[in-house]
Structures are given as C-alpha cells and as structure tokens.
C-alpha cells in the first residue's frame, strides 16, 4: 500500500472495474488438475512456416524499429488480403499496424471519444471495449442481444439505444463469447440506421476467418459505410499468433492518421519480428489456417451436440471458437454454475456475465481444446447436472 499513490491515482482508473475474468482466473489457478474450457485462444502453435520465417528474419538481423505505421510490405499485404472482403485500403495511409486488435480498440476510442460521448457496445461481447471507452472519457452503452435472437444485434435494439449523444457503434461479429455472426442482409439493416443517424462504426473482425457455414461480410464493404468505419483485425486468432501481438486498423486517412498520432507516441511501432512473421502468415498461411478452421468445426459439432445431449440448451455457434450454452435449466446463476462446476468437477468455464449483463444464464466454453478434454468435460458436466438434480430433489422433499 502506498498512500501517496492512493491520493495520486486518477479518477478514471479508479472507476475502471477490474476484469471479471481475472478474478475467475485466480480461482482456477488455485485449483489443481483443472480441465479448462476457459481459454480464449487457439490450441495450435503458430504454423511452422511462420515461426521459421521469423528465425530467418532474426538470423538476417531484422531487429530494428519500423515505420510508425508498420512495414510497408505488411501494409501492402494486408491491403491485398482485404480485397477478398471487397475492401479497398491504400497501404500508404489507410492501414496502421497495431499491437493486436487490443491496441486498435484503444486508439480508436482515444481518437474519437469526447467527454460524455456515448459508444454503443453489444452485450455480451469481448471485455475490453467498455473499460477503454471509459478510460477515454466516454460512456459505454450496452446494446442488448439475446438468446432468442441467437445473440444477433437487431435493428430495433440498435435504434432504441441511440440518443443525441451517441457517437459510435462497436460491431464485433463473429462474436466472442456468443459465436453469433451477422449476415450481409442483417448488416445492411444495421448500416441503414448507422447512416441515418450519422454514426461511426468500429468493426472488430478478428474472427472473420473463423466462420463455419457462411463467409464473413465486412460492414465496411456496404454502400456508404467505408467512409464511416474503422476496421480492426489481426493475426491472433486466424493464424494462431496470439503471442506475437500483431493487428491492424484500416479506415479513411483522416482517422488512421490521428490513430497513428497516438500510436507513434505511445507505442512507436509494432515489434518487427511479429510484423515479418505476419507477412509470412498473410501471404502463405491460407492452407494451414483453413486446416485449423476445419478442425475447430469438428470440435464445434462435438461440443454442441454434447451440451444438448446432457440438457444444456446450446445453439450452433456460427463463428469464432466458443460455444455459449444456456444453463438456465439448472436454476443457477452463471457465476454460481461456473464456481460450483469448478469446485465439484474441476472444469473451468467462463460465466457469461464476464461479457456483460446479457450473458447471465450462459457460460462460455472454448472448443479450441483437445477433443479428449471436450469429451471428458462434458462427462463431468453431465455428472454435475445429475448431482444438482438430486440436491434439488432432496431440498424439495424436505
């Protein structure tokens, strides 16, 4: 404890809640022998050709700073890659290489948010948006999505959340934790509202390659949207490169240059080794990436059918690598379910509420896990549910 710092800390950071995931993490770490479905990253190591390319770059002595915006070769490769989503960005000034999508979100918020601005954030969704909006001085307004709509963002809910203070909307589909996606016709309805209210969209498309039944559509490719969208994407999920910390932000030069202004002072540039590995990934990584997606697809089917078999209602997630089963039938809250399951059966899942209020009644389970772990955890969860039933019968018999 330092009372000096206690006094010195700024209000914004004191008002930022710690990540709920963190608390749960500590609990899991202190329980030995856990099978964890609580991870948020691929279970593959980065494909060898990418690792090998980075050894080569080190051997050749590529160990310097790069341009603030990132290596032009990487920006060109990103620009070329994005044409597959009907997107055109000039690699010179419309692409910025960031330290993962995480930094991209922070830059976008800091470049856009004025004290009191409202930013709409789908609920549930990835944990970093709301705190970063708060740190930038804005107000995160949850946009409810619910199980009955397969956690899709509906035009009605969007329209209802917009006020005169609304500046931007964060779109994050395929979604972590729900696995929901938005199809082109669904995005068109969202785009119409966004344009009518003259809003900005920050679209986190980090799971764009991880869809199973439909191909991904980027909202930036719809008419009238390019000029009002910041597209965020990165290498973490598709290429199993979470530890390399490489992502990118694309958009009109007006916004990208300002995001770069923050980035040049706080980050300088993304690590060069990661950038060179990213070039190898984006240029030659398609085949191995698809193999990983196919493998996730198998495990998705397996996990989802397992949940439904043991009485946890679970829709087939369309993207990312998370199943989001409902645990409402047990009568427990998400937090209770996750904690009791951990204690009783040593299976770690993330309570849906870690991702927003609308996650209540659900748990997030990552199927980028070994098949044997998936099967074993479903067995344990089945036993857990049966014991719950017995307990409630005992209680009602008393």
């Amino acid at each position: 404890m330092s009372t000096v710092f206690e006094k010195a800390l700024c209000k914004r950071i004191k008002e930022t809640p710690p990540s709920k995931i963190r608390k749960f993490f500590d609990l899991v770490v202190s329980t030995p022998g856990v099978i964890s479905l609580g991870v948020g990253e691929p279970d593959f190591t980065t494909p060898w050709h990418i690792r090998e390319a980075s050894f080569y770059s080190l051997e050749k002595g590529y160990t310097t700073y790069t341009s603030n915006k990132g290596l032009i070769e990487l920006r060109r490769a990103i620009s070329k890659y994005l044409t597959k989503f009907d997107l055109e960005y000039n690699p010179e000034d419309e692409v910025l290489v960031t330290i993962g999508v995480s930094e991209g979100v922070d830059l976008a918020m800091r470049a856009l948010v004025e004290e009191g601005d409202e930013i709409l954030v789908p609920d549930p969704s990835y944990v970093s948006y709301s705190p970063l909006i708060g740190l930038a001085g804005g107000k995160a307004v949850p946009l409810k999505t619910s199980g009955k709509d397969n956690f899709k963002l509906t035009p009605e809910n969007l329209e209802a959340a917009i006020t005169p203070k609304t500046k931007a909307l964060i779109l994050t589909f395929p979604n972590n934790p729900t696995g929901a996606i938005l199809t082109k016709p669904e995005l068109e309805k969202i785009a119409e509202i966004v344009i009518r209210h003259d809003l900005i969209v920050i679209s986190d498309e980090i799971y764009a390659e991880l869809t199973y039944d439909d191909v991904h559509t980027s909202i930036a490719s719809l008419p009238g949207m390019w000029e009002r969208t910041i597209l965020l994407n990165g290498f973490s999920k598709a290429y199993a490169m979470t530890g390399w910390r490489i992502g990118y932000a694309c958009g009109p030069e007006t916004i990208i240059s300002m995001m770069n202004r923050i980035h040049q002072y706080s980050i300088l540039c993304a690590p060069v080794t990661g950038q060179l590995a990213a070039i190898e990934a984006i240029e030659n990584g398609y085949k191995e990436m698809r193999e990983m997606v196919i493998s996730y697809n198998y495990r998705r089917n397996s996990m989802v059918s397992g949940f439904n078999r043991i009485g946890l209602d679970c829709g087939l997630p369309q993207g990312a690598f998370y199943a989001f089963p409902s645990i409402k039938s047990t009568g427990l809250s998400s937090d209770e379910f996750a904690e009791k399951l951990l204690v009783a059966e040593k299976v770690a899942v993330v309570p849906g509420t870690a991702f927003g209020e609308m996650g209540e009644g659900y748990i997030r389970c990552c199927y980028a896990s070994a098949l044997s772990d998936i099967n074993e955890s479903i067995k344990r969860m089945e036993r857990f549910m049966q014991n719950l039933d017995k307990d409630t019968q005992k209680v009602s018999n008393q």
Binding site: F25, S36, G38, V39, G40, T45, Y126, Y298, A348, L371
Partner: protein
C-alpha cells in the same frame, strides 16, 4: 466445407481408431451415413488398411531399414509394372515407388539386421534380369514418419482463463 467422404478419410488418416459414433458427432452426420461411407471406401480399396505408426526403437524388436535405388530396364508392353510386381512381392519390401530422375524404383526394405538386407539385395534384387544397378542406403535415424515426428513436441501451456 468439404464433402463427407473426404472428411471421413481425413479423420481416419489422423486416427484410424476413431469410433464411428464420435466421427458422426464431429461431422454432424448420422452414424449410419458414416458407416456406409466407410464400407464403400473399404470395398473400393480406397482405404487399404488400418495400420499403426510405431517407434520400434522403444521396443526390444530389432529392425533395420534401407532405401535401395534401382535402375531397371522397362519391359515392352508392361513398362515398369511387371518388374515392380516382382519386387513388391517380397515381404521385406515395405514401400515401392516409381521415381523420376536418376534412378527408376525406390525400394524401402525392412529386415532384422544389416546382414539380412545385404543378402536380400545381393540374392534377390540384384540378380533379377531387369535390374541394371542397385544403390543401397541404410537408414541411420528416423525423425518423422507419415507426418508424425518421433520426438514429442514440448507443449506450451496456455493460460487457463483468458478473455
């Protein structure tokens, strides 16, 4: 995605002991459909055999392997097929491929020891009329077999809970 047949083959190539029930689950297909596909693949000899990859070094069994490069004179009408059949008939021959380049047939042989392989080459392969020359390379160490490294990869632990 891919058709069911290719998916079944890929899964079996990875693990030929995968139960049909589990395979049906992974593929979101019925057990009947998967079983029918496997039957068809076996009957058409698309699936030749279900084998196991073994690290014999970890056992008491002695095994020596060699690659023998053969140059052969092809036969009129039959090309290389007749001589290939003569060669792959020997139980010592584990694999046999027709190659482009400086020799014709690559013969992978396995026997208990060095001497048995030498004898096999000297007494069975070299005397064949069509065989013009042999070059025997003993395999000193195996690193990877049918896509599987002998050494297990160190597994890097992911954090147990991440956002």
């Amino acid at each position: 995605m891919k058709d069911l047949k290719s998916c079944v083959l890929e899964l079996l190539e990875q693990n030929s002991r995968l139960p049909i029930e589990e395979m049906a689950c992974l593929l979101n297909a019925s057990m009947e459909d998967v079983a029918a596909i496997i039957d068809e693949l076996e009957n058409s000899r698309t699936i030749l055999k279900y084998a196991t990859i073994i690290d014999w070094e970890k056992t008491a069994t002695e095994k020596t392997n060699a690659l023998i490069e053969l140059t052969v004179a092809p036969e009129r009408e039959f090309g290389f097929d007749k001589i290939a059949e003569r060669i792959y008939g020997f139980s010592e021959v584990k694999s046999l491929y027709l190659m482009s380049g400086s020799y014709d047939l690559a013969v992978f042989v396995e026997a208990e020891n060095f001497k048995d392989i030498s004898l096999f080459v000297a007494e069975k392969l070299a005397p064949l009329n069509a065989v013009k020359g042999t070059k025997t390379h003993f395999i000193m160490r195996k690193y990877k077999e049918q896509g599987v490294p002998y050494k297990s990869e160190d597994t890097v632990k992911r954090l147990v809970v991440t956002p």
